[in-house]
């Protein structure tokens, strides 16, 4: 079953075209990674899916009523009067009108979502006093507690240590397997999600490609997408891309 359909999509800012003729579908239960260098339009693609950015051409078809969204990290103000559990609660009933006390099943769902990201001891602290990674984990809990029919995550592993990266990837992987919720996962590094990812959408300077990791992350495909010689190596199970002009990629060696 198709959850997201994207047809002939193009996005242009002033005179710079990020991508065009972009066509793909996200199926129920699928884990899709969106990769590409900085400025390739990964975040913009999510914003088009969310309906917050109008594409220059083409169309997207999806049900926007229950999207779980983990936005790109934006650290909360230090003095913001909000606890971690309040942030998670927004995911459950922040869009409902009126004032209401939480019913006890809902309270339980919030506690379970917080526990799943290992944040039980952080939930009562002011959110602005938590580290970037701790805030990020609570954001994932917020997205999951809403019982989403689609998950959109923008660099959700940023500032997480390796152990928590694995916790978050496992949670998203479980969700799509048990509830069929597809995951669109924007990242600059595919390695932490190699075990979970079904397909990769690579947005390059000279085009895009979609397919399995072994089809897209190849010397041949990436050289075509960058219009220059790129080498893709497999080192101890990790994907290493050499030769991209993007300094961050060389630095992270994925």
């Amino acid at each position: 079953m198709t959850v997201v359909a994207v047809e002939d999509l193009a996005l242009r800012f002033d005179d710079r075209e990020l991508w065009h003729d972009l066509t793909f579908a996200v199926e129920r239960g699928e884990f899709l990674a969106v990769l590409g260098p900085n400025g390739a339009g990964k975040t913009s693609l999510l914003r088009v899916l969310l309906g917050q950015l109008e594409p220059t051409r083409g169309r997207v078809v999806l049900d926007r009523s229950r999207i779980g969204y983990v936005p790109q990290q934006r650290v909360f103000d230090r003095d913001l009067p909000l606890r971690g559990r309040d942030l998670v609660r927004f995911g459950l009933d922040g869009n409902r009108w009126g004032i209401a006390r939480l019913a006890s099943p809902d309270r339980g769902r919030i506690e379970a979502a917080i526990a799943a990201v290992g944040a039980t001891t952080l939930a009562d602290a002011p959110i602005g006093r938590l580290s970037g990674g701790e805030q990020q984990r609570l954001r994932v809990a917020q997205a999951l507690v809403s019982d989403p029919s689609l998950l959109l995550a923008d660099e959700p592993l940023l500032s997480l240590d390796l152990a928590y990266q694995q916790v978050i990837v496992r949670l998203l992987d479980e969700r799509r397997r048990s509830a069929g919720t597809p995951v669109v996962f924007v990242t600059h590094d595919v390695n932490p999600i190699l075990s979970a990812v079904d397909r990769v959408l690579y947005l390059g300077p000279d085009g895009w490609a979609i397919g399995g990791v072994d089809d897209v992350l190849t010397t041949e495909t990436l050289s075509r997408l960058y219009g220059t010689a790129i080498d893709v190596l497999r080192v101890r199970g990790r994907v290493v891309v050499v030769g991209t002009p993007d300094a961050e990629h060389v630095h992270h060696v994925h």
Binding site: R74, L87, R96, I99, L152
Partner: protein, 268 residues
């Protein structure tokens, strides 16, 4: 003297009017502080003054002018939905221009100068029964709207991107907030005056946010601080005939200072 005054009808009216305004100002103040709208509130209230002086020149009720001026600015700010530095400078520019018009209106107005003084610094003891009724109606509108919009309003104030992704009408809510702030400001002007609106709309909420991070408790504390400051200020001005606005602003500032000290001690 003080005891006899307590039996007077105008004192009861003043205390009731003060209570009504304090509750609304304390409640909306939390949203104002969370969204960083202090300067916008100041602008809305000063242009309420322009509206009032305009009404005086035309021979209308200045309260209507306050409402008109505040709502016009509130709506404009909400629709433009400016952010950060741009919003700051736009508000400054419009505020100064509006106040200039207010000065012109005031010079054109041939009536009593006390009308202007009352607008600027408040005249709670001058509130009559009809005004009290109007204050209560507007307060009820604002409180009901706040209660209805509470959860999406809170969500959108803190986390607008995710709120929008969940289908919360973020832009419409921003306009709604400005309109509610304008109504509240028009109320508060009648108690503490144009220049001291912030003492009821900002200070109690800012103090409350220093004391707790629980959203529900923040509202409760903010309303209590606004209430105690207003009623205390009115009573003190009966005992010693200094301006009511002075006592109200002093009390609310004392709460704010105390809250800062308390939160600093907790290591905040």
């Amino acid at each position: 003297m003080f005891i006899t005054l307590l039996g007077e009808h105008f004192v009861h009216t003043a205390l009731l009017a003060g209570a009504v305004v304090a509750v609304v100002a304390g409640a909306i103040g939390v949203f104002v502080v969370t969204r960083g709208l202090s300067f916008a509130v100041h602008a809305i209230s000063e242009l309420g003054f322009t509206g009032a002086t305009g009404a005086l020149v035309l021979g209308l009720d200045p309260v209507l002018g306050v409402l008109g001026g505040s709502l016009a600015v509130g709506a404009a700010l909400g629709v433009l939905s400016l952010r950060g530095r741009e919003r700051d400078s736009a508000i400054g520019a419009v505020l100064a221009f509006g106040l200039g018009i207010g000065v012109l209106f005031l010079s054109l107005y041939q009536g009593y100068a006390t009308a202007a003084t009352n607008l600027l610094f408040g005249s709670i003891v001058g509130v009559d029964d009809a005004q009290l009724r109007n204050l209560a109606i507007v307060a009820a509108i604002v409180l009901v709207a706040l209660a209805l919009l509470y959860r999406p309003l809170h969500f959108a104030a803190i986390d607008p991107e995710v709120a929008a992704a969940r289908g919360v009408p973020v832009a419409a809510l921003s306009v709604a907030v400005f309109l509610l702030v304008a109504l509240t400001t028009a109320e508060a002007i009648q108690v503490v005056g144009v220049l001291l609106v912030l003492t009821l709309v900002i200070t109690p909420a800012a103090a409350a946010q220093r004391l707790t991070v629980r959203p529900g408790l923040t509202f409760l504390l903010s309303i209590c601080i606004a209430l105690v400051s207003t009623e205390g200020g009115i009573l003190l001005s009966l005992a010693k005939s200094w301006p009511t606005s002075f006592f109200i602003s002093t009390l609310s500032f004392a709460f704010y200072a105390a809250a800062r000290v308390a939160s600093a001690r907790r290591g905040g």
